[in-house]
Amino acid sequence: MTLKVTGVVRHYPGNPEPTLKELSFDLPEGTLTALLGKSGAGKSTLLRCVMGLEPFEKGTIEIDGVVIRGTTESTAAERHLALARARERLGLVFQNFELFPHLSVIDNCTLALIKVKRQPEAAAKAKAREVLVQLGLEHRIDVWPEQLSGGQKQRVAIARALCMEPRVLLYDEPTSALDPSLKAEVLQTLQRVDATGVTQVVVTHDIFLAKGMEYVCVLDHGQVIEAGPPAQVLGAPSHESTRELLKHWQ
């Protein structure tokens, strides 16, 4: 499953510069990719455009053959249809997890399976249990989100997304809301998911996390300025902005 972004432009009204400027990149199937960049580089905006939470003016986003076009290039009905089809293959883990507080852990994971994918309740529960066990949450299945620690909440959010069997899973700053001591746990979780063949894109400011990825993409002013394996991009950056970014983080 591939995620291919071609010439995407996103311009917020009132801003002099577009947030995404003809942004393009192509991620091979099954990769674990870090999306790096300074604040305002367009990382989160890109995720939101991919997920259809925000419109974009120009360009295309292609998810496993499903093409979503910009608002000036397609009708609302076309976009809506393409988004609905794309979302079947996509998942997103929010920065602050956005677990549904009125539902237990298992219900957080099964509700979409039952209501969206029309799976029988028993099958949905079995699937959710399987994923929760995989992520080490077997003792938290029936509790409320409020009763979980930060790391557990994040794993539940990942489990909820994985239950929908996405081909591409996006993460928005997965460590920013967590205690620094949990970074290793997050990386371990990402690698565990990577083993299942899901393409993962992780927006992060965290150099430790980025180093554990297979691929790193650096964004600056709405464009990809550098991409490659972590050893290349983080070890010997070729772009001045990347060097500044790394200097700042170190």
Partner: protein
């Protein structure tokens, strides 16, 4: 034979033809009021007159409750066939209704506090003085012309005299029957002799209903001729030279004792001690209060259902609808929130018939209350919806939920918890506001209280009783709301598992 039997059976099953007559029982004695010794019965000289008219016309007289100052509007709307409740013969009444020949005549009586040396005793002396009377009455017009500072009362006549007794007004000007039944039985008052104007009462009919007017006029003439009317007035202590002259009777003096007036004096002249009332009188009025409470509850529950359904639609339309829908929802909310419920109820009941929509009193009450409270509910639900972080809706969206599914399964359950406490407040407020439906002929709990308090001249004790009934109705709903709120908040306030 079979056909005859069938016809007989049908005739037996058919409802007896009725003469629906409108009156306000809160007006009190001696017109139309609840018997203070047995409040389940309506009595008064006009109750007897309506019964006598019905008998002459071959109809069963059925009283319909309505506020006195709205009787002619209700008559025009068709809520009853005629209004018979101290309707004065006056030009402004004749403009909006047909009137029968007068059936009663009485002077206006000025009442003051006994021993009040500064009290006004002439029409001229009323200028600039505070004088109590009924709104829209002949007495009010006389007082206005005399330059008095007029204070009118929407409640019963008892309140007008109570204010005089407490020194809040300097005098009371009302029709003689009222003065006889309220002022003359109380030694704290003095009726001032003198000429203050007079009034005649007539039966009112809808404009164009000349046929019924002629029938009632003929019936009244018959009642005068056969002495029924004279006997009736004598029993109520209302036979006077003015009435004798009006009815063309040469015999000015009454021939029989005023039994009903004496019975009234005995019943309400001196209020029994509180605990005696609790033992003897209040058990009698309890069924009436329960009946009124049932109506209040039915109106309130149905209105709340309407308010909730409409309120949800308005809140959703305002928050998630396209601009046109959102603006329309805001306009609705501002209109219904910003205008008095009484006006809305009046518009629904009296105004909509102009557009061909004629609702029954019960439906009009439910609709007006429901439309009004929908605006408040919409704002409660909007607050609830806005309390749910936008990220929750986005999380639902990326999981593939439709907008409707997101609202139903994710947003609404979280919003409900926020909306329940103000909803409970609104229901209790609605229950109390349902008292306004009394203007559309419904005798709900508050109206039951005001009419009983007026006829039994007991405001405090009955007031405590009706307050208790309101509390007993409202408390279970408050308790239920707490249970529901706890149910929706069960995921909160727990420690780490």
């Amino acid at each position: 034979m079979h056909a005859l039997l069938l016809l007989t059976a049908l005739a037996a099953a058919a409802p007896e033809p009725e003469l629906r007559w409108g009156a306000d029982a809160q007006g009190g004695a001696p017109y139309v009021f609840q018997d203070p010794t047995d409040p389940n019965h309506l009595i008064g000289f006009e109750v007897e007159l309506a019964g006598a008219l019905g008998k002459k016309l071959g109809l069963r007289a059925r009283p319909i409750q309505g506020p006195w100052d709205k009787l002619l509007e209700l008559l025009e709307r068709g809520d009853f066939d005629l209004a018979l409740n101290g309707i004065e013969v006056a030009a402004e009444k004749k403009r909006v209704a047909l009137l029968s020949r007068p059936y009663f005549s009485a002077p206006e009586r000025l009442t003051i506090r006994r021993g009040d040396a500064n009290a006004p005793r002439t029409l001229e002396a009323l200028k600039g003085r505070q004088v109590g009377t009924l709104p829209g009455s002949m007495a009010e017009r006389i007082l206005t012309r005399a330059g008095a500072e007029v204070r009118t009362y929407e409640g019963g006549q008892d309140e007008i005299y109570a204010d005089l007794k407490l020194g809040r007004t300097d005098a009371v000007l009302l029709d003689a029957p009222i003065a006889i039944f309220y002022a003359e039985i109380d030694s704290d008052f003095e009726n001032v002799p003198g000429e203050f104007g007079s009034v005649e009462y007539a039966v009112a009919f809808r404009l164009g209903d000349e046929e019924r007017q002629a029938q009632v006029n003929a019936a009244l003439e018959a009642l005068i001729r056969d002495g029924t009317l004279r006997a009736l007035y004598e029993r109520w202590g209302l036979w006077s030279p003015e009435v004798a002259r009006l009815l063309g009777d040469p015999d000015l003096k009454p021939r029989s004792p005023p039994e009903e007036l004496m019975r009234w004096r005995a019943a309400v002249g001196k209020l029994p001690p509180f605990w005696e009332r609790v033992r003897t009188r209040y058990p009698q009025v309890l069924p009436l209060f329960l009946k009124g409470a049932g109506l209040s509850l039915a109106v309130s529950l149905l209105a709340m259902v309407l308010a909730i359904v409409l309120g949800v639609a308005l809140a959703m339309g305002r928050r998630y609808g396209p601009t046109v829908v959102s603006v329309a929802c805001v306009a609705y909310i501002e209109f219904f929130r910003g205008t008095p419920l009484l006006i809305q109820l009046t518009m629904v009941y009296f105004g909509l018939p102009e557009l061909g929509v004629k609702l029954s009193p019960f439906v009009a009450g439910v609709v007006a209350l429901g439309l009004n409270y929908a605006a408040a509910e919409a704002e409660n639900y909007r607050a609830g919806l806005e309390s749910v972080p936008a990220g929750q809706l986005e999380a639902a969206t990326v999981l593939g939920f439709s907008r409707l599914q997101s609202l139903r399964f994710i947003v609404a359950p979280q919003a409900v918890r926020i909306a329940i406490p103000p909803m409970t407040n609104d229901f209790i407020a609605l229950l109390k506001d349902s008292s306004l439906v009394s203007i559309v002929t419904l005798t709900e709990l508050t109206k039951t209280y005001t009419t009983l308090a007026s006829s039994m001249r007991d405001h405090l004790g009955l007031g405590l009783l009706v307050a208790l009934v309101y509390l007993l109705i409202g408390l279970p709903f408050a308790q239920l709301a707490r249970v529901v709120e706890r149910r929706f908040a069960r995921h909160l306030k727990r420690g780490l598992a």
